[in-house]
């Protein structure tokens, strides 16, 4: 269970948000909403442990994520709005390296199978710089099919994706939630994902 209590974020001398409370349990989805610049990305970066909240606490099963250290990174998968896809590597190399960094080593065969599932058949050995924005996004999202973590934090996962890819992501997320995963995501698109419970968090 992930719990945030009284989270506050200050940028310069401006308070982006304060007094944010939430808790999500296995199988639940939390959508973070709010206009541009309301601090959605800052919140997600705090939740995955990249940034530290100015005040308040984030707890995973009642222990502070700061005290969990690198163990917390075995629990969470974060996909930022920068997709983390290297232009000078092929789709396969990108996927193999990002998964290896997350602690999952796969061979080329497995990598190309996963990429095909993401609808990148025939593009596996192309350098990422010749792929379109949407295709790069698919390469980044392919990681989710391999992740064995309990919590996914996705920052605008649907940007640049076409309708069929959005359907695919929806299916992946629903399957993951049904298996007891937890998802926190931000999106400007309306997407209806089936979950045991869907929380909405509004930042203004």
């Amino acid at each position: 269970m992930l719990q945030g209590s009284n989270l506050e974020c200050i940028r310069g001398d401006r308070v982006l948000f304060s007094g944010i409370n939430f808790s999500i349990k296995p199988g639940e989805l939390m959508q973070v909403r709010g206009p541009n610049g309301s601090g959605k990305t800052s919140l997600l970066r705090m939740l995955c442990g990249l940034a530290v909240p100015n005040s308040g606490e984030i707890r995973w099963n009642s222990s502070n994520i700061r005290s969990l250290g690198e163990d917390y990174f075995n629990i969470v998968t974060y996909l930022g709005h920068l997709s983390g896809v290297k232009d000078d590597l092929t789709a396969i190399e990108n996927l193999r390296i990002t998964s290896a960094l997350a602690g999952i080593e796969i061979d080329e065969k497995k990598a190309s199978k996963v990429l095909q599932e993401m609808g990148l058949e025939g593009r596996e050995t192309l350098l990422a710089k010749v792929l379109s924005q949407g295709q790069k996004r698919r390469v980044a999202l392919a990681r989710l099919l391999l992740a064995r973590t309990k919590l996914w934090i996705l920052d605008e996962p649907l940007t640049a994706l076409d309708i069929s890819a959005i359907e695919l992501i929806k299916k992946i997320l629903e399957q993951y939630l049904a298996q007891g995963g937890m998802v926190i995501l931000t999106t400007h698109q309306e997407i209806d994902i089936a979950a045991t419970a869907t929380h909405q968090l509004y930042l203004s």
């Binding site: 995955c48 690198e70 990174f73 969470v76 974060y78 920068l82 983390g84 290297k86 000078d88």
Partner: protein
């Protein structure tokens, strides 16, 4: 104990992954690598032309010139250690890796040295000939660079991590890192001077070795902490 062994194995695997990745990227973008090497070659080769064919003067200048050029060449490439990863978001993934960040950073430092340091070491004896260095001085020069350039990569990475994402980071990184480079310069060049003068150079090498060991222990850890601050 089997579990212990497994952990070590994955640690080593991770190190190999990150080094392979950086070398692959360096191969795909050779211009970046060659810039450093060409800078070194050009600076070192220009001095004999500018000073003139005065063998005695050249021999005295050689260690200092080669070492200063190596230092500047290494500094030229510091910005690239983390900045590209920072810009495309891979650095976030590295920071969120369940493996020890210090280890990954060590891997990045090592590949930086392989890509920028080792070519300098290999070119140094060839360039030293222009300064009429005797064979044993060329040998000592190469050896001193072999010991010294990893220190430059290790210390430089701390500066690169601290200035990540800042405007004018290039100037700042030189200001941060240069004071720490100076001992390496003094003892690196000093070893070669001593060998030209026919004195023992072992003391210089011992000190360089000590610098290397100390930075090998502290630099990855410091860099990891700096990265967390810069990105967070």
């Amino acid at each position: 104990m089997p579990p212990q062994r497994r952990i070590n194995y994955t640690f080593l695997n991770m190190l190999i992954w990150i080094i392979r990745r950086d070398l692959l990227l360096a191969m795909r973008r050779q211009a970046d690598v060659l810039t450093t090497l060409f800078f070194f070659i050009i600076v070192v080769s220009l001095f004999p032309l500018g000073v003139g064919p005065e063998m005695n003067t050249l021999r005295i200048m050689a260690p200092g010139v080669v070492w200063v050029a190596a230092l500047l060449a290494s500094m030229l490439s510091l910005g690239r250690i983390f900045s590209t990863d920072y810009l495309d978001g891979t650095l976030e993934q590295i920071l969120l890796s369940p493996t020890s960040l210090s280890l990954l950073v060590l891997g990045k430092m090592f590949s930086h040295w392989l890509v920028t340091g080792v070519p300098l070491v290999l070119m140094a004896p060839v360039l030293g000939i222009q300064y009429d260095l005797p064979a044993n001085a060329l040998f000592v020069l190469t050896l001193s660079l072999l010991l010294g350039t990893p220190i430059l990569s290790l210390i430089g990475a701390i500066g690169a991590a601290l200035t990540l994402g800042l405007r004018g980071g290039g100037v700042l990184v030189s200001l941060l890192v240069l004071p720490l480079y100076i001992p390496v310069l003094i003892f690196g060049a000093g070893a070669v001077e001593a060998s030209i003068a026919g004195l023992g150079f072992e003391a210089h090498f011992s000190l360089l070795g000590a610098f290397l060991l100390v930075s090998l222990v502290f630099a990855p850890w410091t860099t990891a902490a700096s990265l967390r601050i810069s990105v967070g």
